[in-house]
């Protein structure tokens, strides 16, 4: 489509920005409902072969990794060079074997999102509790959220409560409403 007078280039392109994304300096909040009131945090992990439940103290005792990465929201903003700390899903699922290829995450407040297990394991995903050196704020999913920076940020479920593997893919909350099942920002997989 040809361009037209009146709209001109206003921002520099950045090779770190996936297609259709623009740079955001703030940290917008997007949530489908109220910020949940979490009285007692617990993380449930499960496969068809077993499950485990982690208290906040259990979670804190696990080795945390420092992550520096870019994040990309499907609403077209990206933040570059953000810093997080959290526990790798490889650590969380260590010893919980599975033949499943998918997982559904659930959150305090009722949110769900589905992911292929291949996007959760192998150093690609964490449950994070720290953002830029501070405890993760409740608006941004604190005390802890899933963090899958390789995919659009709706996959990084705030207020994560559970991660359960499943034999076949099912759609989570936004995925039931027209958003893409995988959500790779570099392939601009915004909508199904």
């Amino acid at each position: 489509m040809a361009g037209f007078t009146g709209f001109g280039r206003r921002r520099e392109a950045d090779p770190r920005l996936p297609p259709g994304q623009h740079l955001e300096k703030g940290f917008p909040v997007l949530s489908a409902g109220p910020t949940p009131n979490i009285k007692r945090w617990e993380l449930q992990l499960g496969t068809e072969q077993g499950s485990r439940s982690l208290s906040w103290a259990d979670f804190q005792a696990l080795p945390h990794e420092q992550i520096e990465t870019d994040i990309h929201c499907v609403t077209s903003w990206s933040k570059l060079g953000t810093h997080w700390s959290g526990v790798s899903l490889d650590t969380l699922f260590d010893g919980l074997d599975t033949t499943h290829e998918y997982a559904m995450t659930t959150s305090y407040g009722g949110y769900t999102t589905n992911l292929p297990l291949s996007e959760l394991l192998g150093g690609k995903a964490w449950v994070v509790d720290t953002y830029e050196g501070e405890p993760l704020g409740s608006e941004h999913g604190g005390p802890a959220r899933l963090f899958v920076p390789g995919l659009y940020f709706w996959k990084s479920a705030k207020w994560v409560q559970g991660i359960q593997t499943m034999a076949s893919d099912r759609r989570g909350f936004w995925e039931s409403m027209g958003y893409h099942a995988l959500g790779d920002p570099w392939r601009e997989q915004r909508y199904a």
């Binding site: 489509m1 361009g3 009146g6 280039r9 921002r11 259709g20 623009h22 769900t112 589905n114």
Partner: protein, 291 residues
């Protein structure tokens, strides 16, 4: 998909509404948004999401009954789907200054969508086995979401998708009155709007008319944060918790609540509602952020 601006109308000092004709667009639902993509002469592109403020002319299989048909001169056979966006100009914005101050009737833009299935009214009926339904059980004693009374709460330009809902309700009520075979009369709806001054109102006259025509089924309340209208009994100032709870449908009626505005507005209002007993799963939020 390609779209053309077919009408534009200033709403207040910082915002305006733009009607787009989008051939082939699927019918949009009140509360949904579209992604708008602009392309500069040198090929540079920018994309932003904007809420639709009117969807009643997006379904061309329905008879044209909406005010927007009249406004945009549409109607009759062969018309193309039309949607209206309402945009507030952000000082550091990249796309909004163009849409509010520069775009003209006849200009082409590209849109993708409509998008969204949660912050929509009438509410989506999810499959019983879907992940949404499974974790969001209905509160005891509550009517089904589609039959529940509706409370809309908007801050500033956050009113846009809520206006689409009020207009959709009016279109539904008109269809029900005209045709006994149409779905029944839609549930009552209240809209609470917070803006800075009387001049910052969005759709003020039309909302007043829709409330007037509704036989008490639609109520619109305005709260002014910086400057109250002459003769107002309420001094200007931010909405307080007590005022909010006075103005909205009580939790005991299990209203379906939609809150839209800045993050701080939505966070504050949604928190007060939940504290006052509104079921968190019945409070749907949409937050504007980023430029």
């Amino acid at each position: 998909m390609p779209a053309t601006i077919v009408a534009a109308a200033g709403q207040n000092p910082t915002g305006r509404s733009i009607v787009l004709e989008v051939p082939g667009l699927r019918p949009a639902r009140a509360g949904q948004h579209v992604d708008v993509r602009l392309t500069a002469d040198d090929g540079y592109q920018a994309v932003r999401s904007y809420s639709l403020s009117d969807v009643t002319s997006s379904d061309v299989s329905l008879p044209g009954v909406s005010s927007s048909d009249v406004r945009a001169g549409a109607g009759g056979a062969g018309r193309a789907p039309q949607i209206e966006l309402t945009v507030e100009e952000l000082p550091d914005g990249e796309v909004s200054p163009y849409l509010v101050s520069a775009a003209e009737v006849g200009d082409p833009v590209e849109v993708r969508g409509p998008i969204g299935g949660w912050f929509v009214w009438p509410p989506t009926e999810f499959d019983p086995d879907s992940a949404v339904h499974a974790v969001l059980p209905e509160p005891d004693g509550a009517p089904a979401p589609g039959r529940s009374p509706v409370q809309l709460i908007g801050g500033g330009s956050g009113i846009a998708p809520l206006v689409a809902m009020v207009r959709a309700r009016a279109a539904g009520a008109a269809a029900a009155a005209a045709d006994a075979a149409a779905p029944g009369t839609p549930p009552p709806m209240r809209l609470l709007c917070s803006v800075r001054t009387p001049a910052d109102r969005w759709f003020g006259d039309e909302l007043a008319a829709l409330a007037e025509e509704s036989a008490g089924e639609v109520r619109v309340d305005w709260v002014f944060t910086r400057e109250a209208p002459a003769g107002s009994t309420r001094a200007s100032g931010r909405l307080t918790r007590d005022e909010l709870l006075d103005l909205v449908l009580p939790a005991s009626e299990h209203p379906l609540v939609y809150v839209c505005g800045t993050n701080s507005f939505v966070e504050t209002v949604a928190g007060w509602l939940v504290d006052a007993g509104h079921d968190p799963t019945r409070v749907r939020t949409e937050r504007f952020g980023g430029v």
